[in-house]
Amino acid sequence: MWRESHRKPMLEPVGPSFHIPGGNMSYRMSRKALAKLLASLLAFTLIAAACGGGDSDTAVDEPTDSVAEGDGDAVVPTVSLAEEEEVEETPVVGGTLRVATEADGDGLNPVSNNFAVSAYLMANPIFDPLFAYDENGEWIPYLAESATPVEGTNSWQIKLREGVLFHDGSTMDADDVIAAFEGTLADPLISLAVAPSYPAENRIEKIDDLTVQYNLIRQSAHFPVNLTSQLGMIPSAEFIAAAAADPALNQAPIGQGPFKLASRTQDDKTLVERFDDYWQGTDMIYLDAIEFSVVTDTALAAERVNAGDLDLVITSNPDAILTLRSAENVNTIENLLSGENDIMMNTRAAPFDDIRARQALTYATDRDAYASLIAQGTSPLADSMFHPDLIWNNPDVVQESNQPEKAGPLVEAYCADFPENCTDGKIDMELQYSGPSVVQTRIADLLTQNWEDFFNVTEQELLQDSHILEVAIGQYDVVTWRQFGAVDPDNEVVWLECATAEGAIALNWVRVCDEDRDALLYAQRATTDLDERVAAWREIQASINATYSYIFTTHANWTVGYGPQVRNVCGQQGPAGETLFCNNQGRQYFHNIWLSEG
């Protein structure tokens, strides 16, 4: 399915990617500032999200079928288009698209606010990125005209298009790009995640009015994909300066996308309207406006899409997905490749510093129950950090579980050695999860039930921010988590290397340091040979599996559900007429969507 793209060099990705469980929380909070630090790491990853799924009819039982229909020539499995796309219709101009988001962002300023899925949904119409993914998962210049590596691949020159107008009427030039980059690095928290890839001085240079040069510490063959996400969204320099002085302006961003912000109420509604001076022209911008409403319960939002109260919803909540699937008036696009649900153990603290405890926990876990009761069939069981459809997947790696008979002796042996960590012959441990969330609570209850024959489980529900924090600073035993799923696995290096396993804050959450594994990680980073990389990653998977630090449960499912009146959901076009990647982890584009009449 996967093959190397020869058109562009494979370069080293710079950022990590991870997901926090909570996308399906019924009660979701925005992150506190403390989470900005960690979550900002997420914001700068090279996410070439795999896109899978299919329409609502075929995806239910065998989600892989539709993937197989891909053209076989892409880096990623392509989305099989919904039937309505087959009929050529004349697009209708006008109308407001009503989109439900499950949360709101702190703000919509890409320089100082961390974007999660909801924020991306609202920011995508307002900001065009410098680069974007085409349907094959390869980067294409978008707002940028071109990207050229210099001095090997340590530096990249980015040339901007001429005559791009911001919503305030000013013209975009190199100064805006520099202001955005420096603004990002000026934020002490966000820079924690971004700065390490760049030297302390001379990180960005202005070559001419429309050209900037980014200077990196290490070779990076894939640098432009770094600019497909938040980091590639460029607000006007004046806006950046003004927002730095008055944070309230983060709610009223000035971009250059096809839609400009019309009104916004935090945690409620955000309305964007067509921007008439859009640099690509408005011939293909059909919608008058898009209205984003926060509906925290996406299952309820799904009901409303079915009822016609809303046009589109994006969710990873199994209840919502099932509702969308069974709804008569809803089409869905599901993506099973963009993340793994897992359970992590802290290998630097008792009792899980002992592999016997980790093994026991792994054996005691009932993944089948998890898949049927929690995922309810919306997400298949996962064996490793890669979906089997991906070439990186090592089919020999099998996630162990459901063998409680093996757990008993291990626990017995452990407790014999460390009686202080045991009570009544069971290992004492704490299961930490984020809440308040009905789904997370159910997961915790289920796991506790799995484990309680061998472990004395104390449940601890923490607010999402505290939850992330305690994991980052290593104050946990076991947590439920969602992670991985980047298009290019090189993005995952940062979560796995020894360098991030130490210190006060560790991004290698489980804190497993294995020098052999580091060697493999860096080897695959150094090569552009796909076979070599695949081989390295298969070995890495086996190595991860052997440490018993993660228990993979299911592949996360991001689903876009929309009413029949919504057309052209996956028909977004790039500047050169390329078809853009559809449903990248739920970060939907709305540029060319139109609403049929009636």
Binding site: D319, A369, L373, V438, R442, A444, L446, E459
Partner: protein
């Protein structure tokens, strides 16, 4: 020449005997039975409330009498076990509220003056603080153990109970029997304990039941905000929230409805019993 007259006569004695009525005893039986079941839950012939054995979202009268929830746990068992926390939190909370609020209210109503103004001001301030917001503040910042939640509910009760105690105290403190006691030479402490307490506390005793109902409901409200007792502790509020997910509600509403009905019946029984008890302990002051 005091004539001996046979009185009080028998007719009055008969008339004075009040009846609580069958509905009261039914309410008491429900609350008592529930409390008993809650205490005895581990030994009752019900399924393990945590075990995920059965098919999820089973309907009523399947293998599981009242069906199962989204994780396949027995709804009946969870409702019985949930009574432990709900009744526990409710009773501890109201006892705290009654003790603190009642004491402050009596002191305030009896001594009046500056003390009264100060305590009344505290009560009014507490009242102008929306109660659930107060509860939120406490439960969100402290760990949400059983005791935190119970204490929080107790604090919520202080101001309303205190105001009632104060009003009742004032009403009685001006009565002539209190003056009579003072004329006899009773000290303040004695007047409060002997003359006022029985008149204030006994009606407030009935209030205990009403207040317990309110506390049980408040636990549910906290659960809806995700701030009830943490961990895998089972409470009605948490069960209702769990069953109130849109899909659960549309496809198997009984998961939410069973604890809702249990809570409703309990609160109804508490309200009714409290109301009857209030009437019952409300002394008639004339025989005619």
């Amino acid at each position: 020449m005091i004539a001996s007259v046979p009185e009080p006569n028998a007719a009055i004695d008969g008339a004075v005997e009040k009846k609580l009525g069958w509905a009261f005893w039914l309410s008491v039986a429900w609350i008592g039975g529930l409390a008993l079941a809650a205490v005895a839950a581990p030994w009752l012939p019900i399924k393990d409330p945590d075990v995920l054995g059965a098919a999820p979202r089973a309907g009523l009268f399947s293998d599981n009498l009242l069906g199962t929830d989204a994780l396949g746990r027995d709804v009946l068992a969870r409702t019985v076990w949930g009574a432990r926390i709900s009744l526990g939190v409710g009773s501890v909370g109201i006892i705290l509220g009654l003790t603190v609020g009642g004491t402050l209210g009596i002191i305030s109503g009896y001594f009046r003056g500056v003390v009264d103004q100060l305590i009344s001001f505290v009560f009014f301030s507490l009242l102008s603080f929306p109660s659930l917001v107060l509860a939120l503040l406490i439960t969100a910042t402290l760990s949400r153990s059983f005791w935190t939640v119970a204490m929080t509910l107790g604090i919520l009760g202080i101001a309303p109970i205190g105001r009632l105690a104060r009003a009742t105290t004032i009403q009685f403190a001006e009565r002539e029997f209190v003056q009579a006691s003072r004329v006899l030479g009773a000290k303040n402490g004695r007047i409060i304990v002997r003359e006022l307490l029985p008149n204030v506390l006994i009606p407030m005793g009935a209030l205990t039941l009403l207040g317990m109902g309110i506390s049980i409901v408040a636990e549910g409200s906290l659960a809806f905000l995700g701030l009830s007792v943490e961990g895998d502790a089972i409470s009605w509020g948490k069960s209702i929230v769990d069953g109130s997910q849109v899909r659960d509600l549309t496809e198997n509403a009984h998961v939410a409805l069973v604890p809702i009905v249990a809570m409703f019946l309990t609160v109804l029984a508490l309200n009714f019993a409290g109301d009857r008890l209030r009437e019952y302990t409300d002394v008639k002051e004339t025989a005619f």
